[in-house]
């Protein structure tokens, strides 16, 4: 660090302290004497954080959670989680005199009779939508850059559990106003739970405290929403961040950046200012959204009643994939066997989504098993350099997107004047064929991009300048890349597929065969990075 402090900075300590700095010094001393906080400052104050726009997605998730926490606390002061019936007598005229639950009437009170209440409610809801979306995008970033590899596998699992919990928070919160839409959402949950063999009927009976809708569910969801789930989320976020500090942040590869260093901005002052400022920017943008765009206008839906429902209503976006999965089931998937009903129209979506979630959850371990790579990885992959992983990711995204599209099938059908049957059949096909197509296309594209990178590393960029050679032929002059540029193009790991080999006892196990097969699938279409020899050769052309 020595060479950074120039002479005229060093003597700063000897100048006469101002009144302000004397106060700061005294206050710091006071705290230090009682907490020994200087140790923490020394340890973390200049910790380095690398910078890349995609690293901000995790920050957005964290910040929106803080916003949700702040606005949610405010809302609890006014919201009443009771399903006792009252006659509405607030400011919103169209609902005056109607019977509704206390939960609904207190939500209307927040919206219409409390200054700023509607704004806070809308900030809370918008922030919740952003929260889940940011986690999802953050996970995609982690996935496609391979940041989940050793030593970060466990943090991937924690993050993924947080994603599920965020959706659970969203759903429980969505149900609290006890309006027509949220009541219908609960009804769907009730019907799904009843479809579970053996225990479904009883679980739904216990959860709702008797017949649907009952008078218990809103209070119970409230406890989950403001106590249990947030407590678990806060604990997991803390673990998640501790791991980030223990592991130190990953970085993209580049000249000077290695597996053994972290290059970036120190926490104090640069990273703190940037990240702190970014919190306020995220907060500000969400407040703007909440001021301009109405979200969840419960007053239009009215109180819950099991009988009416309006067409074209949509759940919050993150529930869409589950709703879509239900819609895609063809008719007649229900059998009665030995006096019991098996509702496959519900079980199949539950099992398929469960498996999907499981695969995502344990993906880091699957890939580590296939590659057999036990090294630590702190340099991120460029998605193109790991074509199979990237292609699997694209397939997963396509699958999720198809389910999500299915949840809007009715809107699509009415909007484009198509038949609902046609739309559903199309989405059914897309759900199965789309991921396969996405896989194949993505893999080809990645390989093409890698070939292009090789070309550039070897021969430079096309400069667009055409010259005529003495022999009369025309060639385009290539602009060679400098060594820093080239390093970015050639610094990635090359893997060759695993060879089948007998183990110590001289046997070839079935598991080994599977692994060899998987390894072949993962690495067979590899493109190796350019080597120095190749470049020398290339120069002689």
């Amino acid at each position: 660090m020595t060479n950074l402090l120039t002479k005229d900075e060093a003597p700063a300590a000897t100048t006469t302290p101002t009144k302000g700095s004397r106060f700061t010094a005294a206050a710091s001393n006071y705290i230090e004497d009682r907490t020994s906080i200087s140790g923490a400052v020394k340890e973390f104050g200049r910790k380095i954080f690398p910078d890349h726009w995609s690293f901000m997605l995790g920050e957005v998730s964290l910040y929106s959670f803080v916003i949700i926490f702040l606005t949610g606390s405010f809302l609890t002061f006014f919201y009443q989680a009771s399903m006792a019936t009252v006659i509405y007598d607030g400011s919103y005229v169209p609902l005056k005199g109607l019977e509704m639950s206390t939960a609904m009437s207190s939500s209307l009170h927040i919206s219409f009779d409390l200054r700023g209440g509607l704004l806070i409610r809308q900030i809370h809801h918008w922030a919740a939508l952003v929260f889940v979306a940011a986690i999802g995008l953050h996970m995609l970033r982690i996935y496609f850059t391979g940041a989940f590899r050793k030593p970060r596998e466990l943090n991937w699992v924690i993050g993924f559990v947080l994603f599920i919990l965020a959706m659970a928070e969203g759903f429980t919160g969505y149900s609290l106003p006890d309006d027509l839409l949220s009541g219908n959402g609960l009804r769907i949950i009730e019907g799904m739970v009843q479809g579970i063999p053996f225990v479904g009927t009883w679980i739904s009976f216990l959860v709702f405290g008797g017949d649907f809708p009952g008078t218990a569910i809103v209070g119970r969801l409230y406890t989950l929403h403001i106590l249990l789930l947030p407590a678990i989320i806060v604990a997991l976020i803390a673990m998640h961040l501790v791991f980030v500090i223990v592991h130190k942040h990953t970085q993209f590869s580049g000249p000077g950046k290695t597996e053994n260093n972290v290059v970036g901005a120190p926490i104090l002052p640069m990273f703190a200012a940037k990240a702190g400022g970014f919190f306020f920017i995220v907060f500000g943008i969400i407040v703007l959204m909440a001021s301009f765009f109405t979200i969840n206008p419960i007053w239009n839906y009215g109180p819950y009643d099991p009988s009416p429902v309006s067409a074209g209503t949509q759940p919050d976006w993150y529930i869409g994939f589950a709703d879509g999965a239900l819609r895609l089931m063809p008719p007649g998937l229900e059998v009665v066997l030995f006096n019991h009903t098996y509702s496959f129209n519900i079980l199949i979506p539950l099992v398929v989504l469960g498996l999907f979630i499981l695969v995502v959850l344990i993906y880091p371990f699957i890939e580590a098993w296939i590659t057999g790579d036990k090294r630590e990885h702190h340099l991120l992959d460029r998605p193109r350099n790991v074509p199979t992983r990237t292609a699997i990711g694209a397939a997963g995204v396509t699958f999720y997107a198809s389910l999500w599209a299915a949840a809007s099938s009715d809107i699509v059908a009415t909007h484009f004047q198509l038949s609902i049957e046609g739309v559903i059949h199309t989405v059914q096909a897309t759900t199965i064929l789309g991921p396969i197509a996405a896989y194949l296309i993505t893999k080809r594209v990645c390989i093409a991009l890698m070939k292009k990178d090789r070309e550039i590393a070897l021969h430079g960029y096309e400069s667009g300048r055409i010259v005529r050679l003495p022999g009369g032929e025309y060639i385009e002059v290539h602009q060679p890349v400098d060594e820093y540029e080239r390093w970015k193009l050639v610094n990635f790991t090359d893997n060759k597929p695993l060879m089948i080999r007998p183990n110590a006892k001289g046997q070839i196990t079935g598991l080994q065969k599977v692994r060899v097969g998987m390894s072949k699938w993962f690495f067979e279409d590899r493109i190796s990075p350019v080597t120095t020899k190749e470049l020398e050769h290339g120069d002689h052309h």
Binding site: M1, D373, S409, R486
Partner: protein, 357 residues
């Protein structure tokens, strides 16, 4: 923290080698080429405008504090609008104005702060990159050995490995002690009710009038014109304190078709009255109200997942994820000409459940 002297190669040297006998983990299938490129180290540092031009530096400084001033103005504006734009009139316009001005004020306060801080950090703060070294996540061999030793010692001192009966009964007790808590959750649902029974019946019974939802007025057969559809609830349901639970099972759709269009199966011919049919409104998929009636096709459509039921054919499923037909409520008229139920439904209504046969 070896601060930047552009010595990428030096930093790149493996750090774990030092006092560790630990060999380093398997590289799996990775290929290490002997003639691979080596890291050229950090490229030369580029100065920003604000580093080179004192005027640019001054300008950036002005921009930062202007943003902070704007933030303060935003806060004040928000407080003023809280006071200045009341919503107590109940007018929608007032509410919109209050929400908008308050929100814009707060957003300005937040964005001023945020943009100011970020601009400050980007334009003015020292931007030389720092470097931290990484070390393997696992502890040093010495630490690991010490940890193992501590565990061994704890095992010896407590004897948990040796005294197997103590250990096993301890595990047993730990497994057993949460069980009462599980049992306690039985209390989530009422004790004297069997969910299977309550799912299997509704409040409809013989002679009960079909009344309009939500008014509760009875319906005469003569009022149901050809092609019309009515939302129906049982007579007197509004007097019950648990009317929502009752309605969630008993809601019915009433339609009149040309009797020639109806195709009742044997034994069900008498369930309609002069082309008037009543079907459960609770979708057999997962329970949404099947609220949309297409007059032309005589189809009922569930808005939740688009299950479609054919009224001409006993509401069998023609499309969508539902598997079972909507249950039919047998109806007739009483002596005053009002529509009444002949009985309850002949099967459970709503979503399927395990005990249903």
């Amino acid at each position: 923290m070896a601060h930047d002297d552009n010595s990428g190669k030096e930093v790149a040297a493996p750090v774990s080698s030092a006092a560790d006998k630990y060999e380093g983990p398997s590289t799996g299938t990775a290929v290490i080429a002997s003639d691979a490129f080596t890291d050229p180290g950090f490229p030369p540092h580029r100065e920003r405008m604000t580093d080179l031009d004192p005027k640019a530096d001054k300008r950036a400084e002005r921009q930062v504090f202007t943003l902070f001033y704007l933030s303060i103005a935003g806060s004040i504006f928000a407080i003023a609008s809280y006071i200045g734009f009341p919503i107590e009139s109940g007018a929608t316009g007032d509410l919109r104005l209050s929400t908008l001005t308050l929100g814009v004020g707060i957003a300005l306060a937040l964005l001023g702060l945020g943009l100011g801080a970020v601009h400050w950090s980007k334009a003015l703060m020292m931007n030389e990159e720092g470097i931290d070294e990484r070390h393997p996540i696992r502890g040093t061999e010495a630490t690991r050995d010490r940890a193992v030793e501590i565990f061994k010692q704890a095992n010896e001192e407590s004897g948990i490995g040796r005294r197997t009966v103590i250990r096993n009964t301890l595990i047993g007790a730990l497994v057993a002690f949460p069980l009462p808590a599980v049992v306690l959750f039985r209390g989530l649902g009422p004790m004297n009710v069997n969910p299977v029974e309550s799912l299997s019946s509704t409040m409809w019974k013989k002679g009960m009038r079909l009344t309009l939802d939500p008014s509760g007025l009875p319906v005469k057969a003569a009022d149901v014109t050809l092609g019309s559809a009515f939302h129906i609830i049982p007579e007197g349901i509004n007097d019950f304190h648990d009317k929502l639970e009752r309605k969630a099972k008993a809601a019915v759709l009433l339609m009149r078709l040309d009797p020639k269009d109806l195709n009742p199966s044997p034994g069900r011919e008498g369930w309609a009255y002069d082309g008037i049919v009543a079907y459960s409104k609770i979708c057999t998929h997962v329970g949404c109200p099947v609220a949309l009636y297409e007059q032309q096709t005589h189809h009922l459509l569930c808005p939740c997942h688009q299950s479609t039921f054919d009224v001409e054919n006993e509401c069998k499923v023609v499309f969508g994820p539902a598997a079972r037909a909507l249950p039919q409520l047998p109806i007739t008229v009483d002596s005053d000409g009002y529509l009444v139920a002949q009985s309850d439904f002949n099967e459970p209504v709503g979503p399927s459940f395990w005990e249903r046969s």
